[in-house]
C-alpha cells in the first residue's frame, strides 16, 4: 500500500471514528449514571438524520436552521424516552430498564418504517462539501476534514459543560453516588434528563454527518453504528467521555485499516467490533481506561 493510500484511509478512519465517538459519548454518560445500556440511542442517531432530511427537502429550511432544529428535536426525543420508558423503572431490577430500552429501540425503528417507509432515501449534499480536494496524490473530501473538526469542537463544548458548569458538577456527582447527590438537594431527575438530552444531541449530530458522508438514510441505519458505538464506549472505559471518543477513534481505525490491509476480510467487517468487545470484556471487563470495581461480600 502506498503512503498516499494510507493517508487517505487514515482520513476515512478519522471521520468514521469521530462519528462512532460522538454516539459513544451518549452511551457512556447514561451508563455512567444509570448503569443502563440505552439501546434506543442508535435510533436517535437515525432520527437526527431524518429530521434534517425532512427539514431541508420538505419545509425547504436553510441547512443551518434545519440542523439546529433537528439536533434540538432529537435531544427532546432522548429526554422523552427517559421520562416515559426508563424513569419509572429506576427502582426495578437493572435488566428491566434494559428490556424496556430494547423495546423502545424496536419501537422507534418500526415507527420509522411506518412514517418514513423502508425505502432508503438519497441525501442531497451541498456541492462544496463533496468537491474533492487534491493534496498531491491524496484526494479527500472536505467532509473528511469538517467532520473530525466539528466532532472535536462538540466534545470540547461537552467537556466544558461537564467540568465547568454547575449541572456538569451535578452530573459527575450523580455518577459517583446518586443517593448522596439527591440528599444534597440536587434535582436528580432533571440532571438525568439533561444527560439524555446532551447525549442525544451528540448522537443526532453524528447521524446528520453520517448521512452526509454516506449519503443514504433508512430507518434501520442506527442499529449497527449504535452497537458499535456502545462497544467503543466499553473499549474506552464506560463512564469516561474522553474514553468514548478514543474508543470510537480506535474502532474506526481498526475497521478501516483491517479492510484496507486485508481486503479478503471485508465481508467480516461488521463482526470486528463484536470480536473486539468480547476480547476486551474478557481481558479487562472495565474497558481500557475504566477502574476496577471489587465485588463486596
Amino acid at each position: 500500500m502506498s503512503l498516499d493510500m494510507f493517508i487517505q484511509h487514515l482520513f476515512n478512519a478519522l471521520t468514521l471514528g469521530s462519528l462512532y465517538g460522538l454516539i459513544a459519548i451518549g452511551y457512556t454518560m447514561v451508563y455512567g449514571i444509570l448503569r443502563l445500556i440505552n439501546f434506543a440511542h442508535g435510533d436517535i442517531f437515525m432520527l437526527g438524520a431524518y429530521f434534517v432530511f425532512f427539514g431541508v427537502t420538505l419545509t425547504k429550511l436553510p441547512w443551518g436552521i434545519a440542523v439546529v432544529l433537528a439536533v434540538a428535536l432529537s435531544a427532546l426525543c432522548g429526554t422523552v424516552i427517559d421520562r416515559i420508558a426508563y424513569r419509572p423503572l429506576r427502582d426495578a431490577p437493572r435488566i428491566s430498564a434494559l428490556i424496556s430500552a430494547i423495546g423502545v429501540s424496536f419501537f422507534i425503528e418500526n415507527l420509522g418504517l411506518v412514517v418514513f417507509t423502508g425505502l432508503p432515501k438519497p441525501v442531497y449534499r451541498p456541492d462544496w462539501l463533496v468537491e474533492v480536494i487534491n493534496l498531491g496524490n491524496i484526494r479527500i473530501l472536505p467532509l473528511a476534514l469538517i467532520v473530525p473538526a466539528i466532532a472535536f469542537a462538540l466534545v470540547m463544548g461537552l467537556l466544558w459543560i461537564v467540568y465547568k458548569t454547575k449541572p456538569g458538577l451535578a452530573m459527575r456527582s450523580i455518577s459517583k453516588d446518586i443517593e448522596t447527590t439527591r440528599l444534597m438537594g440536587v434535582s436528580v431527575d432533571k440532571i438525568i434528563a439533561l444527560t439524555f438530552g446532551l447525549g442525544s444531541a451528540l448522537a443526532a449530530a453524528s447521524g446528520i454527518m453520517w448521512a452526509l458522508r454516506y449519503p443514504q438514510i433508512h430507518p434501520f441505519m442506527g442499529v449497527f453504528p449504535g452497537f458499535k458505538a456502545f462497544i467503543a464506549a466499553v473499549l474506552g472505559g464506560i463512564g469516561s467521555i474522553q474514553g468514548a471518543m478514543i474508543g470510537g477513534m480506535l474502532l474506526g481505525l481498526i475497521e478501516i485499516m483491517a479492510v484496507a490491509f486485508f481486503p479478503a476480510l471485508s465481508g467480516y467487517r461488521d463482526a470486528f467490533a463484536f470480536i473486539l468487545l468480547i476480547v476486551i470484556l474478557l481481558m479487562k471487563p472495565t474497558g481500557l481506561m475504566g477502574e476496577k470495581l471489587e465485588e463486596k461480600v
Binding site: 448503569r35 418500526n110 415507527l111 474478557l282 465485588e295
Partner: protein, 350 residues
C-alpha cells in the same frame, strides 16, 4: 408431602396430553393450512421460550444470543436433510464442500444433531462469557449471535452465503413439532423440579450465597446455558424445516427479541408462563398481520402499513415491563392442585 395426589396428578396429566393429541389429530384433518402453520409456530416458539427461560428466567443469565443458536441448529439440520441433488442445485456461487455435500440423516437425527451443535457452541461461548454478569453478558451474547450471522454470510462453501438454503424438506409437521415441544417440556419440568433446578434458582437469587453453599456456580451456569442452547438449536432446526427456506438475515436480533418478548410476557421463571406466552404472542403476532395487509371496508380502501405490527408489538413489551413486570404467570407454575382448588372455591362462592 405430595404423595397423596401423585397418582391423581399423573392420571390427569396423561389425560391432558391425550386430549392435546386428539385435538392435534382433529386440527390436522380439519383446519386450513394457515391455522395449522400457526399451531406449529406455537409449538416451536414454546421450545424457544422454554429454553431462553431456563437461561434467563431460572438461572438469571441475561442472554441475547438465542438467534445464534437457532441459526446453528437450523443450518446443521437442514444440511443433513437436504437431498444431495438439491444441495448441488442451490449452491450456485460455490459448491458445497465434502462431507456436507453427501451427509444425510433421518429427520429426528438431523434435528438432534442441530441441537447438539448448538449446545457445543453454547459451551464454547459460555466458558469465556459467563464470567460476565448482567447487561455485559447480554451484549456479549448478542455479539456472538451477530458474529455467527456474519460468519454464515461469508462461509459460502458451507452455508451458501447470503443466498441461504431453499427447498428444505418440510418434515416438521404438527406431530414432530408437538413431540419435540412435549419432550422439551418434560425434560425441563423434571430438571427444574429437581434439586438441580433449585440450584439454578439459587444462582439466580444470590450467587454469593450459592457459592458459600458449595455450589460451583460457574459450572452450573455453563450447564444451564448449554442446555438452553441445545433446545434453541432444536427450535431452529424445526423452524427451518417448517418454513423450508433460511438465510443468515433471518437470524437477526429481531428473532431473539421475539423470544424474549414471549418469555417476559409469560413470566420469567415460569415454564407454564412460557407455554401460555408462546400461544398468546404467536396468535397475537399473526392476528396483527391485518394492520400490514390492505383492508377494504365497503368502497373504502386502506393500504397496509408495513412496520405497524412491530410498532404495536414493541409498544406492548414496553407496557408489560412498565406496568406488569411479572408477566402473565410471574414465577408461579400450573398445578392440578391449584386448578382444582380454584374450581371448588368457585363452586362454594356460588
Amino acid at each position: 408431602m405430595k404423595t397423596p395426589n401423585k397418582n391423581r396428578d399423573l392420571t390427569l396429566t396423561t389425560a391432558a396430553v391425550g386430549l392435546l393429541l386428539v385435538f392435534l389429530w382433529w386440527a390436522n384433518g380439519h383446519l386450513d393450512n394457515y391455522k395449522i402453520q400457526v399451531l406449529n409456530l406455537i409449538a416451536i416458539n414454546s421450545i424457544l421460550a422454554l429454553s431462553l427461560n431456563l437461561i434467563y428466567g431460572f438461572t438469571g443469565m441475561f442472554s441475547l444470543g438465542h438467534a445464534g443458536f437457532m441459526a446453528i441448529g437450523a443450518y446443521v439440520s437442514s444440511l443433513l436433510i437436504l437431498p444431495p441433488v438439491q444441495k448441488e442445485m442451490i449452491y450456485i456461487l460455490q459448491p458445497l464442500i465434502w462431507p456436507f455435500s453427501v451427509l444425510q440423516a433421518p429427520f429426528f437425527i438431523a434435528v438432534l444433531a442441530g441441537g447438539f451443535a448448538a449446545a457445543l457452541l453454547g459451551l464454547v461461548i459460555a466458558i469465556p462469557v459467563l464470567r460476565l454478569g448482567g447487561d455485559y453478558l447480554g451484549i456479549a451474547t448478542l455479539g456472538f449471535a451477530e458474529i455467527i450471522r456474519v460468519v454464515f454470510t461469508n462461509l459460502t462453501p458451507i452455508t451458501n452465503g447470503a443466498l441461504g438454503l431453499k427447498g428444505i424438506p418440510n418434515y416438521a409437521n404438527i406431530w414432530w413439532n408437538y413431540g419435540w415441544c412435549l419432550l422439551t417440556l418434560f425434560f425441563l419440568i423434571r430438571l427444574i423440579n429437581s434439586n438441580f433446578g433449585n440450584v439454578l434458582k439459587a444462582i439466580r437469587d444470590d450467587e454469593i450465597a450459592a457459592r458459600a453453599m458449595g455450589i460451583n456456580t460457574f459450572k452450573y451456569r455453563v450447564v444451564s446455558f448449554s442446555i438452553g442452547a441445545f433446545f434453541a438449536g432444536i427450535g431452529g432446526a424445526l423452524m427451518a424445516s417448517l418454513i423450508t427456506t433460511i438465510d443468515p438475515k433471518m437470524f437477526s436480533f429481531l428473532l431473539t427479541f421475539n423470544v424474549l418478548m414471549i418469555v417476559v410476557a409469560g413470566g420469567l421463571g415460569s415454564l407454564t408462563g412460557s407455554i401460555i406466552g408462546s400461544a398468546v404472542i404467536t396468535v397475537l403476532l399473526e392476528w396483527l398481520r391485518f394492520v400490514e395487509n390492505p383492508i377494504d371496508i365497503g368502497s373504502f380502501h386502506l393500504d397496509g402499513i408495513p412496520g405497524m405490527r412491530m410498532v404495536i408489538f414493541s409498544l406492548l413489551l414496553i407496557l408489560i415491563i412498565l406496568f406488569r413486570r411479572e408477566g402473565i404467570m410471574g414465577m408461579r407454575e400450573f398445578s392440578w392442585d391449584s386448578l382444582i382448588s380454584r374450581f371448588s372455591r368457585g363452586g362454594e362462592a356460588r
